[in-house]
């Protein structure tokens, strides 16, 4: 029992992995084997990168002790800007880079406002949620522009891998997740991010540039959201101004389901990926087992509350029985 607690304290995201395996088994049994079929997995994995990228960004920002509620809007504005640039004749690659720079600027604004005026990021980014969504609708001219037919987006959307199991976007997602994980777990900046969120005063007294660390995390979070949005728009082939609505809360849910602490300092990229995957699996599994899909939000909500309650309880209990010995 002590060992279980120790493993949990060191790798809180493993609880999510266990739940994932359990749910997959339940859905597999409930759908008479359709859930784990190649076709269905292709559907789940095809959508995962979009919400997964947002979840990774939000998780890293939460670890440094801040929130971003504007990611859903950034998820819409970034590809909108990229699409309009492509339609105006800018080469696709340049348009993507410019779109991501715009996302970085939104993140910078979020961080700058939060830190300069010392207000909760919850409020600063709530304001940005409305501002950026409004801008998206305004620049779209009210109806979604169409990407040119001859635009090739295969680098992101084509099916690859054994049996065409996933889209190319999945590779981008894996590469990004790997880079983010290296940053967080293996680099000095990752150490500073955790220290900043774990105890701001201590980090600052030890010479960590806490303000710059937070600004960096805000910008990283927005760029990840923008990248997720671009991938979704390339899949849909049109930048709907409404995409990403409600995504900010799904990303927070994915983060906490994956073991990220709301108080900052604790969390992993793997946890964010597992959390996002769990949400996708629930969404898809309910359909596959022919449960009314309107139960989806109830399931995600229950899981979120359950994850936070059990994480809090486990952390407290583990500390009380002194697993350190």
């Amino acid at each position: 029992m002590r060992n279980l607690f120790r493993i949990y304290l060191e790798k809180p995201e493993l609880a999510g992995v266990a739940l994932l395996v359990l749910l997959a088994a339940v859905f597999e049994a409930g759908s008479a084997g359709a859930f784990l079929s190649g076709d269905n997995l292709r559907g789940i994995l095809g959508l995962l990168p979009e919400v997964g990228l947002v979840s990774i960004g939000v998780t890293i920002l939460m670890i440094c002790g801040e929130f971003d509620l504007s990611v859903g809007s950034t998820f819409a504005l970034t590809p909108m800007a990229t699409s309009l640039l492509i339609i105006a004749g800018v080469p696709a690659l340049a348009a993507i880079v410019l779109g991501l720079l715009l996302a970085a600027a939104i993140g910078f604004a979020n961080g700058f406002i939060t830190l300069t005026f010392a207000i909760p990021s919850f409020i600063a980014t709530l304001g940005m949620l409305f501002i950026v969504r409004s801008l998206t609708v305004v620049v779209s001219g009210g109806f979604p522009p169409l990407l040119p037919d001859d635009l090739t987006t295969g680098e992101f959307t084509q099916f690859v891998g054994p049996g065409g199991l996933f889209r190319a976007s999945f590779i981008w997602f894996l590469a990004t997740a790997f880079a983010a994980s290296t940053l967080l777990a293996k680099s000095s900046v990752g150490n500073w991010i955790k220290a900043t969120g774990g105890h701001l005063e201590a980090a600052s007294a030890m010479g960590v540039p806490v303000r710059r660390v937070k600004l960096f995390c805000f910008m990283l979070c927005s760029v990840m959201a923008g990248f997720g949005g671009i991938i979704q728009v390339f899949r849909l082939h049109s930048p709907l101004p409404s995409i990403g609505d409600g995504l900010e809360l799904q990303a927070v849910a994915a983060a906490v389901i994956g073991g990220t602490a709301l108080s900052g300092g604790v969390g992993t990229v793997l946890g964010a990926v597992v959390g996002a995957l769990l949400i996708r699996v629930i969404d898809n599994g309910l359909v596959m087992t022919q449960v009314d899909a309107n139960w989806f939000k109830l399931a995600v909500g229950t899981l979120t509350i359950f994850a936070v309650v059990s994480n809090t309880w486990l952390r407290r209990t583990a500390r009380r029985i002194k697993v350190a010995g």
Partner: protein, 243 residues
């Protein structure tokens, strides 16, 4: 004549209209252990935050070995060999012991400046040595700091300061929330600083602790130094009277 290791000259500090330090002047000789006492709001914390680079003085000068210096950040203070152990702001409870020891000064195996990939093997190895050097017995450098007692945490903070070869160690209320036994251990360590070539400044509310472990007592009140004597020439009663 050898200049004082650290010399504070006519330092002033204002906070939003409050005159927190009113021209403080203090010389600390090399290998001296100074006990800094005073009530809350006397200016002790402000003074040590200036020495450790967390705050900047509004007026006045700081000299280290006779050279005028600008301690513009904690990193700069550390470069001058000034390490500070705060009562509760030295450690990040959610991180491992090894990571805590090297926050902001991670050993890198690849990187530019302070940014790069951490050399985890070296970090663990040096953490084990740093902890053993201060005679602290801990299970593993990978254990989370949250699992340690207050005294063990203070021990890790001390291990960090010694590992980075501090010349001037500032301890801000290091014995708060510690058991009697742990307190004795920390005070014993403070007493042993000169033997290790380290100069100490101990901030404490407890006059007995200061008289037990320091060479000299400096008392502050209302932003000024009001008392300054060698420990052998004074008593708890005399210091209490001026506070």
């Amino acid at each position: 004549m050898i200049p004082p290791l650290i010399s504070v000259r006519h330092i002033h500090k204002w906070y939003a209209g409050v005159h927190a330090l009113k021209g403080v002047t203090l010389d600390v000789q090399s290998r001296e252990v100074v006990g800094l006492v005073g009530d809350n709001g006397a200016g002790k914390s402000t003074l040590i935050k200036i020495l450790s680079g967390v705050l900047q003085p509004d007026k006045g000068e700081i000299r280290i070995e006779g050279q005028g210096v600008e301690i513009t950040s904690p990193t700069v203070a550390m470069r001058f060999g000034v390490e500070t152990i705060y009562q509760d702001a030295s450690m990040v409870p959610t991180m491992s012991i090894a990571r805590n020891l090297f926050i902001g000064r991670e050993p890198l195996r690849l990187g530019i400046g302070r940014i790069g990939l951490i050399d985890h093997d070296r970090m663990r190895r040096e953490a084990i040595k740093a902890i053993a050097d201060v005679d602290l017995h801990l299970r593993s450098p990978d254990a989370s700091l949250a699992e340690l007692s207050g005294g063990q945490r203070q021990g890790v903070a001390i291990a960090r300061a010694m590992h980075f070869k501090s010349r001037i160690l500032i301890l801000d209320e290091p014995t708060n929330h510690l058991s009697v036994k742990e307190t004795a251990k920390v005070l014993g360590f403070v007493r042993g600083l000169p033997a290790q070539g380290v100069t100490g400044i101990l901030i404490s509310h407890n006059l007995h602790h200061v008289l037990q472990s320091c060479d000299r007592v400096v008392a502050m009140a209302r932003g000024e130094i009001v008392f300054d004597k060698q420990v052998v020439e004074t008593s708890v009663e005399e210091v209490s009277d001026v506070l």
